[in-house]
């Protein structure tokens, strides 16, 4: 009787303590992610979460990174800098994360990078495009794994330069949202056109507020301006609303619509379906149908299998971020040595779905900005990715190194 009681006690102790012992011994890389889950940008947050989980499952299934399993916590950033800062601080002090991760809005990114600098915790930026983060507001613990607007506007300027030879154009107008993202694209397209010696004239610029629901007055005013090219810096649903409203006015027959940072986003194509006009010149930070590589096809198909929808560009940034973390930890052997991880991330090469054959994305050691190829396409009929009826085609591809800011500019802006 007594021995049975003792045995029972032992079993009980085992049940209570073994799992916790097991957890304590399991080696884990803790990642604290911030993504918007509500409102308009919720779509990008949800896609980023799905892609990050997909990458984590892939890596953990192969035994993790240097024997460590990846573990991620997601919190809604609410797209509010002040709120996101509190969550980031909690991640660091309470959850003891090794990496801060994510963020769609550049405003939130700029706030979180400050927390990362103060606490010396690495922040992997997956999808906010403001160039400042890797130049003017550079800090050693920040790394960005998707293109910034400078890179896409450089590709855009090169495209317009080539276009001038085939189909002479002279005047441009600009329309984009009235916050950092919209303003930097306007500055950067002009800066780069001038840098490449393109002869052009900016005839008008419009900066409606973000999420402006009605563009009618802007459209009629743009038609009066008669630019040859309309450079657009809209983001997300604003592109959808603008295209729907401008189409009936025949705007797209009157000028070339040129939108090299986010116009070619898949969610624009899927929302517009057959309404998407042909012949618009667009790009995005990731394309579901380019490059036609094994890795990209597998990434898109797997995302579709897991979520039932095709990914938006934001998803690939999150996917890339998780792989960057895993590769860096593999190199260093532990997630606890932050300074060694910074060194490992500088210059790190990662093969990503958006890399064409013969190129591998890498992180520029000086600015901590990922260096990637950019392809600009033209909207053409293509129903391989329903509900979209039009996708991009007729690609022009720009080499990654050609898209970086010139050395003098980097040094000038890093010093600020």
């Amino acid at each position: 009787m007594k021995s049975r009681k003792i045995a029972l006690w032992i079993v009980l102790m085992l049940v209570v303590f073994l799992p916790s012992l097991g957890f304590a011994q399991e080696k884990v890389i803790r990642i604290g992610a911030l993504y918007p889950m509500t409102g308009r940008s919720g779509l990008y947050g949800m896609d980023s979460v799905a892609a990050a989980e997909m990458a984590i499952d892939e890596i953990n299934a192969k035994g993790g990174a240097a024997g460590y399993k990846l573990d991620i916590i997601f919190t809604d950033s609410k797209s509010k800098p002040a709120y996101a800062v509190r969550v980031a601080e909690r991640y660091i002090t309470e959850d003891k994360v090794h990496f801060l991760f994510g963020v769609v809005s550049s405003a939130v990114g700029l706030a979180v990078t400050e927390i990362s600098r103060q606490n010396k915790v690495i922040f992997i930026g997956t999808d906010h495009a403001a160039t400042e983060l890797t130049l003017d507001n550079f800090q050693p613990y920040y790394f960005r794994v998707s293109n910034n607007t400078f890179q896409s506007m450089t590709a855009g300027a090169l495209y317009l330069k080539e276009l001038q030879k085939e189909k002479p154009w002279k005047t441009i107008s600009y329309i984009g949202p009235d916050y950092a993202y919209g303003h930097s694209q306007l500055d950067e397209i002009q800066y780069n056109l001038k840098r490449f010696g393109v002869d052009f004239q900016l005839v008008s610029k419009y900066l409606p507020k973000l999420y402006e629901p009605d563009y009618t007055s802007f459209i009629t005013s743009l038609i009066k301006d008669k630019p040859d090219v309309l450079v657009s810096g809209f983001w997300g649903g604003d592109t959808v609303a603008f295209i729907k409203q401008a189409k009936a006015y025949g705007l797209f027959e009157k000028m070339l619509y040129f939108h090299p940072d986010a116009g070619g986003n898949y969610e624009v194509m899927s929302a517009l379906g057959a309404e998407m006009p042909a012949g618009l010149v667009l790009s995005a930070r990731h394309h579901n149908n380019w490059p036609d590589t094994e890795l990209n096809r597998r990434y898109v198909a797997e995302f579709k299998r897991r979520t039932g929808r095709y990914p938006t560009y934001a998803a690939e940034g999150a996917y890339a971020g998780i792989y960057a973390i895993a590769r860096a930890v593999e190199k260093v052997g532990t997630p606890d040595n932050t300074e060694a991880l910074v060194k490992a991330l500088e210059g790190l090469q990662i093969k990503l779905p958006e890399d064409p054959d013969g190129f591998t994305s890498y992180i520029d050691p000086q600015t901590h900005q990922i260096v990637q190829v950019q392809a600009i396409g033209v909207s053409v009929p293509d129903d391989n990715f329903p509900p979209a009826k039009m996708m991009l085609g007729k690609w022009k591809v720009y080499k990654a190194e050609d898209l970086l800011p010139p050395k003098e500019l980097i040094e000038k802006r890093l010093k600020k």
Binding site: G42, L43, D214, A241
Partner: protein, 295 residues
């Protein structure tokens, strides 16, 4: 700056104004009749857009009936919300604060419900056949769908005028704005009146959402984006003043259209300037009738 452009810009302003008015009409109606400030009015606009999407794009009902179904469905949800939630806070001290908090909660709840049901991808409704192109009058270019919206707006103004001033139901609604207690003593079921008016107001919001869906993107959060402009319109017109909202919307639409044309970089500023000036110098609204102004 030629005449054709000014005329085009004026029509643009008018088209913008009509959607602004349709958004704001329900908001001002429910404020006028029930003294309820429905901060979640934009959410019924969003629900209407999603209902319209479901009925026309998914179930394949023709466009115009789909708009009516979407409006009706939003109205039913509206009545239910009033009956289940808002009714419980009537008559509390500081009721206004409770109204704002409660309706703000409704915004968050509807946003997440929409996300759970339809997902977070942008949705779209195609324009009805026959309204894809534009008509040209001289050099002025107007898309036919925008014309249709302007026509619907005028229709709503006329219908509302007729109901409010020529029918018994309209008289009851107006009376409940003046004195709920006396109206109750006269044997009118005041709570029912409020539920019905709330339903009508949210149905207007829902119909507007569905009507705007072919021109805008249907996303969670769409409600909160339009509520500010609707509020400006309501303030310009005088809180609760139905006709005032119509004039307020036209004023705001035209101010926007010409600000965009002449000072494009500062265009978004002007609607707020107009609102601030109104609040300082004419807090009862630009279009308040004379007797209210004196009181």
């Amino acid at each position: 700056m030629d005449f054709a452009f000014l005329a085009t810009q004026m029509v643009s302003g008018f088209s913008l104004a009509t959607l602004l008015f349709l958004n704001a009409s329900g908001l001002t109606l429910i404020f006028g009749v029930g003294r309820i400030f429905n901060f979640a009015h934009g959410s019924f606009y969003m629900l209407g857009a999603y209902f319209g999407y479901q009925v026309s794009a998914v179930w394949g009902l023709p466009f115009w009936p789909a708009i009516l179904v979407a409006g009706a469905a939003a109205g039913i949800v509206g009545s239910a919300s009033e009956y289940l939630f808002l009714r419980r806070i009537y008559g509390r001290p500081h009721e206004g604060g409770f109204q704002i908090l409660l309706t703000y909660c409704l915004i968050l709840i509807f946003d997440d419900l929409v996300k759970m049901i339809w997902g977070s991808e942008y949705k779209s409704i195609a324009k009805p056949p026959g309204f894809l192109g534009a008509v040209q009058v001289g050099d002025v270019f107007i898309p036919t769908y925008n014309l249709a919206i302007i026509a619907v707006g005028l229709l709503v103004v006329l219908a509302a005028w007729w109901i409010l001033s020529r029918t018994r139901a309209g008289r009851i609604a107006r009376a409940s704005a003046v004195d709920r207690e006396i109206l109750g003593c006269l044997g009118v079921n005041v709570p029912l009146t409020l539920t019905v008016v709330f339903g009508l107001a949210t149905a207007l919001g829902g119909m507007t959402g569905a009507l705007a869906a072919p021109l805008r993107s249907v996303t969670p959060g769409a409600g909160i984006e339009i509520i500010i402009d609707s509020l400006i319109v309501v303030v310009l017109g005088g809180m609760g003043n139905f006709w005032g909202a119509w004039f307020g919307a036209i004023l705001l639409g035209e101010v926007n259209a010409f600000a965009v044309a002449f000072v494009p970089e500062w265009s978004s500023l002007f609607s707020y300037i107009v609102m601030v000036l109104t609040l300082i110098f004419r807090p009862e609204g630009l279009f308040a009738p004379a007797r209210i102004r004196k009181a």
